[in-house]
Amino acid sequence: MNTTPQILRILPEVILTITGVLIMLAEPLIAKGKSRRPLGWLAVIGTMAALAASLYQYQLPAGTAFFGTVKTDAFSVFFHVLICCISLVCLLITLDATTAKTDGMGEFYALIIFGTVGMLFMTCAVELLLVFIGLEISSISTYILAGFRKHTAKGPESAIKYFLLGSFATAFFLYGIALTFGATGTTKIEAIAHLLTVSPTPKLAIAGLAMILIGLAFKVSAAPFQVWTPDVYEGSPSPVVALMSTAPKAAAFAVLLRILYSAFPEMHGHWVPLLWWLAVLSMFVGNLGALRQKNVKRMLAYSSIAHAGYLLVAFTAFSAEGIAAASFYAVTYAAMNVGIFAVISHVGGYEDRLTQVDDYRGLAYRSPLLGGAMAFFLFSLIGIPFTGGFFGKFYVFTAAIHSGYVWLAILGLINSGIAAFYYLRVVTTLYTKPKESAPVAAIPRVTIPLLFALLCTVSATLILGVVPGRVLAQARAAANATFAPAAMVQAAPATTVVQAVAKK
């Protein structure tokens, strides 16, 4: 039996919660109208501590705690680390973007921190109840953050859209849980798998699965549940978009992986083809929608839909390789997307001065660093070799093809071709001569936090693109931790062929 103190299994969450509370307590101590940056730094420190804690959790033997509600294994720790990193960078971006703003910044940082707590719980929970709570925490905090610029016309609108539709989807998610519970009589993820085999009404579980899928598909903004994405991204402050386009998605994908692979592996006959369609739909909707976008943030919103599609491709593979690919892709996508939003939030500022693509004209001359970085991230999003984006796609599609989904791969890569069109349009805009009196003329100089954020994201994207070995190994470990069913797809005729040749 495991002897590790239970608290260690939720150490990062605890640390972050404490940090959040501290921020709340410290907030009133700072006089009105004074900058809230110290709180930001406090949050950064807390997140770093949580990150350290998460890394420490790699030492722990895999096991559950609190009566099997949480589980720390390679999988959960992988996503812990990822989410902590994302929040960390996003906090840095926030620090840079909101220097001027004082009002309510305490809450801002606290909400980011608490939201992170929710996501962390999502990834490590093996009890649907806890998953639900975590999901709600992260969602609610993001709803609020989305509407944080409440004096503007768009801020509250994006909040209300996100909130109403989000709760709408949550209801479905909940219904799904209810039905699953109805089919099995339990809400413990691992238990579901084998209780299903004895359940008198397994078919209810299928309905439950469908409903859960709906809820999570909404969270990861996969078509046809993507509708909210562009509007919300447009209305929210850029640092928040950086966060909500990556971290909650990563968490939601983690949950989806857990549920699909740990609770419903035997039903893959039902959900694999479904995800096939969701993936294709998402890719096409995302990329085609982005083609005509003039507004950068909306364009990236559509692109995030498309990327959700790429990620779902990995799910369809239904193999450990697939999970590894998905996890890896989540990392790469986080790196490049956070990075690009770092640039956007700095250039556009908290108030989004630059929205249209043309506003970015000549950025690469005004500020080679920002322009270059943005171009780099865009290329990574296209999936150019030696960037993380490329390896991400590469592993995803390798997994798909190994499982025999050649057409999926073809469609996917055609999509990356379509995507290249709009990403490249931005790149070329960055590198065309700026008009005189161009908006890019007045970019604030790069601050230390942003510099650090860019450093992290760029190096991450680059490392993932050149020497992805380590991260991939971790992703594999995570995959093996989750994916144990007997019905594992054997996708290695390759090795046999090689051996055959070797014999000759």
Partner: protein
Amino acid sequence: MLTEHILTLMTFWPAVGAFVVALLPRNGRIVRWWALFVSVVTFLLTLHLPAHFVYGQKGFQFVENRAWITSPAIRYHLGVDGLSMWLVVLTGFLSVVGVLVSWKVIETRTKEFYFFFLLQQTAMIGIFVSLDIFLYYAYWELSLIPMAILIAMFGRERGPRTAVKFFLYTFIPSALFLVAILWLYAKTGTFEYPALKHILATNSGTIAPHALWWVALAFLVAFAVKVPVFPLHGWLSDAISDAPTAMAMVIAGKLGLYSIIRFNLGLFPVQAREFAPWMVALAVIGILYGASIALVQTDMKRLISFAMLSALSFCILGIFCFSLTGLDGAVYQTINEGVSGAALLALAGFLYERYGTYDMERYGGLAAKLPMLATLFVITGLSVVGLPLFNNFVGEFLVLSGSFHAHPGWILAATLGVILSAAYMLTMIQKVFYGPESKMVTQQAMGDMTVREHVLLWPLAVLMLAMGVFSPYWMRAIDQGVANLATPTTHTISYMEKR
């Protein structure tokens, strides 16, 4: 020591140079000189290959092979053979030429320019030397970036638009190309060229032939666009006319042609032979099509672009007749195209530097004003026309004579190209240099060639002549490189027996 790592060295040295450029101060002169230094060193490094190349030794040389990513099994596997060696050297050479050509033109944004320019060198050399298809693909895609950005930055008219067009034209097919690669990997479990070649050659039974056919097609299309082959050349003339000269020199031709020979003929000989009739037809159409459109151009760069289309189609023709002579010719012609095309573009560029237009109608009677430039222009023109004792003649002659036995009819048609080529080339020369002086020419007094231009053009001119006269020096390696790709032509053999 040097010989083990020479390939890595020459591949990454320009990249290193590029990053140094990024750190240099915003000062045109420093950046320029540095770039020149880098490219010269690159060229010298590439010269190491012919110096130490072992003739008659089978397989790849200067091999470097170590693990990169364990699973999927991607290796850092480099090596050259007779096929790729001279192309690498050519790349090195053209990088020097490129810097010299850009010397004056690129006045603003020099840092960006040379950064991407040097990056491009790395990508191109990487393409030629990598033997792991994954690695190859990585470089292949990478090579698009600097090109696209530079076109966008320095495009003559619709820069950004052309850049996107060029990028998509190449990127979308190579997406399918990637699928094909992954599929192969899924089936064979390796990315390494030699291993793949062996597997596909020995037990192709395990892989469905029709599937393999599609894979081969995906490869071919991706390459054909880059060459470009006739109906897929939509990007060419825009790209050539918008790209800065240094980039236009390397945008078309050698990468695609090399890849076709290396992969389509190397990995999929059977499928390649199935495609052959179509490719030959397209090639011949391309030759005549390009030449006759070039005949009616008024813009120098567009004329050159269509001339290129015509010239490159010769290579395709040679490749897909599978006779050793034809293949030799094709590869040789690839190199020639690199040299002559570069010279031609450089010359056009120099005229542009002087008079600020590529419109031939506005020129006239320059020969009296710029005799040296005119001379070199004529020399280059003659090389392009394929006059004997010039490089292109050797290439074209080998291609045509080597292919004749396979498709006499098509070759007959293709040979008409030599008439047309003479027609458009001489028309260009006449419009620009002969006849009475045009208004523009009389109004703007311009000096003849500068030292830089001499330094740049004479080596090219001499090279054209040398390659036309001492072809065996280059041919040895090439012949050895493609020997095993050709189907032995029967009639000559029988003739030999007859004697």
